[in-house]
């Protein structure tokens, strides 16, 4: 009774803005075909660099204007959401499932296993990850699949560190000893007793990392080694728009704004989830990429 009313009190504090942003983002990405007013790749040179509707020369046909090839920016942003959603979702799933296991094993067994995994984490944290990612993508070729894989394997450390910290705490609990005394196998202890205790913080982390990954993917595209044209991606749009910054500012501004909104949404929702599911975990994880 006390717990349910507490839960309700926390649900009432839900960040409506953040949830709305994320909801819209997912809907837009899933139904881009039906929502977008234009094709994202059809070029119309006659309307190239047309400004957004509220500026002089803008038309309602191209709400947010067009780019240098006359493609509708709004439609490109709508289709770009797909890339962000797919990359964010899969990369988080990959890195989360790698990281959580490393963290579980490292924390539970301790000793030499722990030292080895923690050194791996240190190594990963010490390297400028963006260069590693760039070099890897350069080597493997810039396909969507490779981008997801590279982001996935370069961001497992955060999950591992958080999971390890959780496990170290959970391990101190006497129910773990009681499980051993009852004759539970190590696998059962890990899966039934330890894992449920790390799930909440991993969900929180995954939400926050979702935003980070979107930024990361766009950064790769921005540097030219992300999703290749003509597929619309927010990072590529930013990079392309950069050249026209002085006289067609809308090219770079709107896709960046979209990234910021989505990331803001994940941050808001992530913070709320953390307060609700995992009050112990502080902003600690935020800084660690």
């Amino acid at each position: 009774m006390a717990k349910s009313s507490k839960l309700w009190a926390q649900i009432k504090q839900a960040p409506v803005g953040g949830l709305t942003i994320l909801f819209l983002f997912i809907v837009v990405a899933l139904f881009a075909k039906f929502i977008a007013p234009h094709s994202p790749i059809d070029q119309d040179i006659t309307h190239a660099l047309s400004p957004p509707f509220f500026l002089e020369g803008g038309t309602w046909n191209y709400l947010l204007g067009t780019d240098e090839l006359g493609r509708d920016i709004l439609s490109r942003i709508i289709f770009g959401a797909r890339i962000s959603l797919v990359v964010g979702f899969i990369a988080v799933a990959i890195s989360g499932s790698i990281g959580v296991w490393f963290g579980l094993i490292s924390g539970y067994f301790g000793g030499k296993v722990d030292s080895v995994i923690m050194r791996l984490v240190d190594i990963q944290l010490s390297m400028p990850y963006i260069l590693i990612a760039l070099a890897l993508i350069g080597a493997l070729g810039p396909s969507l699949r490779n981008i997801i894989i590279v982001i996935g394997i370069t961001s497992w450390v955060t999950y591992a560190r958080v999971a390890r910290g959780d496990v170290l705490g959970i391990k101190e609990n006497e129910f773990v000893d009681l499980a051993k005394i009852a004759g539970c196998s190590t696998y059962r202890i890990l899966v039934r007793h330890i894992f449920p205790g790390v799930v909440n913080s991993q969900i929180v982390l995954g939400t926050l990392m979702f935003g980070r990954v979107i930024i990361f993917e766009a950064a790769l595209s921005f540097l030219g080694l992300g999703v290749q044209p003509p597929t619309p991606s927010w990072g590529t749009m930013l990079a392309d728009g950069r050249q026209y910054l002085t006289y067609a500012w809308w090219l770079a501004t709107f896709p960046g704004f979209a990234i910021m909104l989505v990331v803001l949404g994940t941050n808001l929702v992530g913070d709320w989830l953390r307060d609700m599911l995992d009050p112990k975990q502080r902003a600690a994880v935020r800084g660690k990429r």
């Binding site: 609990n173 009852a182 059962r188 039934r192 449920p196």
Partner: protein, 327 residues
Amino acid sequence: MKGESILKVNNLKKYFSMGKEGIFSGKARMVKAVDGVDFSLYKGQTFGLVGESGCGKSTTGRCILKLYGITNGEILFQGKNIHSFEGKERMQYRREVQAVFQDPYGSLNPRMRIGEFIEEPMLVHGTFNSRDRKKRVAKLLGVVGLSSDHASRYPHEFSGGQRQRICIARALSLNPKLVILDEPVSALDVSIRAQILNLLMDLQEEFGLTYLFISHDLSVVEHISDFVAVMYLAKIVEMAPCDMIFKNPLHPYTNALLSAILVPDPELAQDAIILEGDAADPRGLEKGCRFRDRCFNATDECMEKEPELIEVEPNHKVACLRVAQKK
């Protein structure tokens, strides 16, 4: 009085390594948590193991529970060395020895329903089918004074005393022979403590359980135990049947402990023996009696010679040179 021995601890030693002394020297720093302890548990009886924090009483319990490997000595369960158990025998041991710990909050997995929690040992050991297990959970809940519809609830809905009852129910689920009770009432409020102690004693009678009762609280130990051992810095300093040790304590440490108990009665004027200083660092003790620095009776000999635990009167063992000389 004694009856059948169920578990025997012979010269048990447990040292913990505290890291290496230097990166390049192989010598490890050792903390001797338990340093040569002998005792036996007899069927249907309660053996009280009492001492202050860090004396090694809990470590002893954990060695018996096979949560730690041991450094030296042996633990015999019904005549067999428990550290030689493999496979089937190991599971058999896990079935027959259970435990209840101090912290009622840490003992329950917050994400497991009470029913699952009590059922888990039976599930792991493959006893009964699913339906019978559920029935048994309901029955066990009744035995410890809870209602069977508590099974579907989560731990956060229960108070400390109720949680401890749940732990007891789980411990009983496999019909164990021996239950290690490690400070089972220390974290509970005074008014709840008595409930749990009564429950433990009732269950012992009903199921013929053997208890190893580990506690720092002498009045609780006196209440529940048949036989008591007092530990100080990794060793037993005095061991005797309960009445004997409380009526006629021989070791100066036992005396000091007893006099430090605050009797809830303002009219009983007490003159506590105030011991100087803190418990010594076990690392500094190479020779001599481990209690010598705090002892009000220590002589030069105590600095040099380590006393053995010897029987000074029938069933009453003490590790003190001065007491041994007097007798």
